[in-house]
């Protein structure tokens, strides 16, 4: 649909005042896969957001919800991108009920300043999105961004217990609450986690918190990929409870400040001092028996490893990034096959052995056409799936980045129709170009 951008901007200005921008530089900075929007607006509260969505809906204007702009490479290229709706002004910590281990946060708040406030009361949000200075709460939840410590703390879907959102119609709704156990009504939060802004715009999220650990450290074991696989098996057969278990390869190890090796296995332990010491002791013994060299990292060295892992694939440094998700035991097998397929070409990877998530990055986007179907087929052998997370727009136009449509696609399409009948929210970006 062609929209009358002047008329739309006037109506939005009427409702939002000065929070409507049209200068070309700003708009170019908000392009999605090369598509430059006509208008950017930043509502100051839920009622302005409702008004903006109502106006866009009436005009049939495509709306692109925007948090910190750190995950805009996710998804298929949008079919339209008329109005970018920024959540930057909804940026407050609404409540930190530390005795209840919960916090309620507005969607536009960035993760790093939130963690600073939570840390003042010895708690943290156990989600580690890339670039936390810019990643927002709403974006992290909408894109379902999970980090390495998902193994110990659960994923976004497990940590979100309540939510407020505004639907495409402009109607504000809420779901869940601020109690950790709650079975009243359907669990609507689940539908919005990972929905990439296609069902509504999240305005506020309530999370379970975790206590800050007394201490932490990382054991790094270096060796062949096969040796790393044996150590992972030994670790998961033990009673140890690491926070993260991650294999890195290619030049990722160097970026993380580690010595080069075919594979480096980083194991994050945190908790009481004596429990962390026990993890270090036992893991070093296991690694030694399997012939891997180990070192113990803390402080800055620990942070450098996990920041490198956290930001992998999201820093714009790699022209093509894939995420292959498989059941746990398949992780090192998938890596071995992927390394075989590349046949010597540079392949960087970060693989979370405790959660079944393998991130692969390629320097040559021209290889996507050949590679993506092979990764999809490889993942499917293990009941898993592969997603093309980032690639140049021209490459993304040639595939569905989410892979083959899910079996329940008809239900998903109907859900989208129920919540966004005009198809104005992030049109085309989600699975099967919903």
């Amino acid at each position: 649909m062609t929209i009358d951008a002047d008329r739309l901007a006037n109506r939005l200005e009427g409702a939002l005042g000065s929070a409507v921008q049209r200068d070309p530089a700003t708009l170019r900075a908000h392009a999605v896969d090369g598509l430059v929007p006509h208008i950017r607006c930043a509502p100051e509260d839920t009622s302005q957001l409702s008004a903006a969505l109502r106006i866009c809906g009436e005009s049939g204007a495509a709306v692109i919800p925007w948090g910190g702009g750190t995950a805009m490479h996710w998804g298929n290229p949008p079919t339209h991108a008329d109005v970018v709706v920024s959540l930057e002004r909804l940026n407050r910590l609404v409540e930190h009920d530390d005795a209840n281990l919960t916090a309620t946060v507005q969607a536009g708040m960035s993760v790093a300043p939130l963690q600073d406030l939570l840390a003042a009361r010895r708690q943290f949000l156990a989600i580690d999105p890339p670039d936390p200075r810019h990643s927002t709460i709403g974006g992290t939840v909408a894109a379902n961004i999970n980090g390495p410590r998902r193994l110990a703390y659960g994923g976004v879907r497990d940590l979100v217990i309540g939510m407020k959102m505004v639907l495409a119609s402009g109607e504000p709704i809420k779901a869940g609450g601020k109690v950790v156990k709650n079975v009243a009504g359907y669990d609507m939060c689940k539908l919005f986690v990972g929905s990439l802004g296609t069902l509504g715009i999240i305005t506020e999220v309530t999370f379970k918190m975790a206590p800050l650990p007394e201490t932490f450290g990382t054991i790094v074991a270096r060796g062949s990929l096969a040796q790393a696989a044996h150590l992972i098996d030994a670790l998961f057969a033990s009673a140890l409870t690491p926070a993260a278990v991650t294999v890195v390869g290619g030049d990722v190890a160097t970026a993380a400040g580690l010595e080069a090796a075919e594979a480096s296995l980083a194991i994050w332990a945190e908790g009481f001092e004596e429990a962390v010491a026990r993890h270090v002791r036992d893991i070093q013994t296991m690694a030694g028996q399997l012939g891997l060299a180990t070192e113990m990292l803390d402080g800055v060295a620990h942070h450098r490893v996990w920041e490198t892992v956290r930001d992998f694939g999201a820093d714009g440094a790699s022209p093509a990034v894939f995420r292959v998700s498989v059941p746990l035991a398949a992780v090192t097998g998938v890596l071995a096959v992927a390394l075989g397929v590349t046949a010597g070409r540079p392949l960087r990877y970060v693989a979370h052995a405790g959660t079944g998530t393998v991130w692969l990055a390629l320097d040559d986007p021209g290889l996507v056409a050949a590679w993506f179907p092979r990764l999809v087929a490889l993942a499917q052998e293990y009941h898993g799936h592969a997603v093309l997370v980032a690639a140049p727009p021209a490459v993304k136009q040639t595939v569905d980045v989410w892979g083959p449509p899910p079996q329940a696609l008809a239900l998903m399409q109907e859900l989208k129709r129920q919540f966004d009948p005009r198809g104005v929210l992030n049109p085309g970006r989600f699975v099967a170009r919903i």
Partner: protein, 478 residues
């Protein structure tokens, strides 16, 4: 409906012996663990996904409601056929199909009993974390429908955190898989929305469950308090100290009296509250955690703290808690259990409010509950033979739920809305919030055929509903 032709068709699908129509056969399906009863018209026991799909298609052609049923241990009337139709019992579909310990998953049919999952994988060093107190009887299908909790879900999460993929039969008999064995399957998290939908979206015929590695060490403590306030403040302090126990359970004075009258375990009858704390993890973590918990209990004025030295003593400490529900029978002929939740930080004040409601209604209320996650179980004691008593009990229960909502909580933490609390869901959600849920219902079940008249505040239109004391099998606890 033409009942005879439907019954004929159902018999062809599942076999004569698995279609029940005689009153003496269907009467056992008229009630669950709640106080509501409706006599089913037809009960069917399919033995496979294909048979479930066939039954659903037949019921659709006959235009009658479908009510799925697991073991019937639900406490909110979710399995009661409020609008008549066909009750589908999943009890025969009770096989554990696959245990894949390397990938930490088990694939089961919906009629598998919760405890049998852990039994199947315990030798390999794993367990299924959700442990509703009825776990010796309740089914996985029922757990999924209700998003069941349990005492050990404090550290590990409830059912929705442990179900990763489900095979479901939809309203037109289609069979689809939702979710996935690998994390983050592309698309909307329909598996997550289905868990806790109380049988209103379809019927689960297979489930892929996440297993957890058994913990190396378990430490169990029991603390006795002279004042309820001190006990609830201890719960707040434990959480505030950064300790996340596996379980954190509480019993009040009346419950202690019931236990000591019905099945004594040696609690002092003059104590105001008993707190049971369990820590799990590596040895080093549980030892320090137990020390910290003990210090907090003492600082808050606990009269005594017992730390279990071995498994036998651990079971003894739990015995009173597990026997509490059954022991309430020693105090009154009937009891009505509520399931409100409050933020943990509001526990002290909600317990004072419940005491106040108890006094105003002249009803004794025994509290035995999951204090660690703020999930209350006030048991209102009464005698159903006294005219008007049950109505008074229900009014007091409603007032407790209003107090929970006012404190920022919820009307149900693990039992579900069902029939029992459907009139109360408006305390939590606006019409627009409920309309969004109705959109989800429309996606899965546009005709509203699955478990009608549950969860949402629509009136019951046809069947005859009676109220009677709950029939809870012996040995179960909440």
């Amino acid at each position: 409906m033409n009942r005879d032709s439907l019954v004929r068709e159902l018999r062809q699908i599942v076999g004569d012996e698995y279609v029940l129509v005689e009153k003496e056969d269907v009467i056992v399906y008229e009630q669950d663990g709640s106080i509501m009863q409706v006599l089913p018209e037809v009960v069917v026991l399919p033995g496979s996904t294909e048979q479930v799909a066939g039954v659903v298609r037949a019921a659709r052609r006959a235009n009658v409601p479908i009510v799925p049923r697991g073991s019937g241990t639900g406490l909110a009337g979710g399995a009661v056929p409020a609008e008549g139709g066909v009750v589908i019992s999943l009890a025969r579909m009770n096989r554990v199909l696959e245990c894949d310990l390397r990938n930490r998953i088990a694939v089961v049919e919906p009629g598998v009993i919760n405890l049998d999952v852990t039994k199947a994988v315990a030798a390999g060093g794993f367990f299924f974390a959700p442990d509703p107190s009825s776990q010796a009887a309740c089914s996985i299908g029922g757990n999924i429908a209700n998003n069941s909790g349990g005492p050990h879900t404090l550290a590990y999460g409830v059912t929705t955190n442990h179900v990763i993929e489900i095979e479901v039969v939809l309203d037109d008999g289609r069979v689809v898989w939702l979710g996935g064995r690998a994390p983050d399957p592309p698309g909307y998290d329909l598996c997550g929305a289905f868990v806790g939908s109380e049988g209103t979206l379809g019927i689960v015929t297979k489930a892929v469950l996440r297993l957890m590695r058994s913990r190396e060490s378990v430490r169990t403590l029991l603390a006795i308090f002279d004042r309820m306030d001190a006990a609830t403040q201890t719960v707040v302090d434990i959480t505030g100290a950064g300790i996340v126990p596996a379980a954190l359970e509480m019993m009040d004075r009346l419950t202690i009296e019931a236990v000591e009258t019905g099945a004594p375990v040696g609690y002092p009858r003059d104590a105001d509250a008993v707190l049971l704390v369990e820590l799990e993890g590596v040895r080093e973590s549980t030892e320090r955690g137990a020390r910290v918990v003990q210090e907090i209990c003492v600082r808050r004025g606990a009269r005594g703290v017992r730390v279990a030295q071995d498994d036998a003593e651990r079971l003894r400490l739990w015995k009173g808690r597990k026997g509490a529900f059954g022991a309430l029978g020693a105090l009154a002929p009937n009891y009505y259990v509520q399931d409100g939740v409050v933020p943990r930080s509001r526990l002290p004040e909600i317990m004072r409010q419940i005491a106040d409601i108890s006094a105003r209604y002249h009803l004794r209320i025994a509290n035995v509950f999951h204090a660690g996650d703020g999930n209350l179980h006030p048991n209102i004691l009464f005698d159903i033979r006294i005219p008007g008593e049950l109505d008074k009990v229900i009014a007091a229960g409603e007032e407790i739920l209003r107090a929970c909502v006012a404190a920022g909580g919820s009307i149900t933490g693990e039992h579900g809305i069902g029939l029992e609390k459907k009139a109360y869901i408006g305390m939590l959600f606006s019409d627009v919030d409920l309309d969004a849920m109705a959109k989800v219902r429309k996606v899965f079940d546009p005709d509203g055929r699955f478990n009608p008249a549950k969860m949402f505040p629509t009136p019951i239109t046809c069947a005859e509903m009676r109220r009677a004391p709950a029939k809870i099998p012996a040995g179960l606890w909440i």
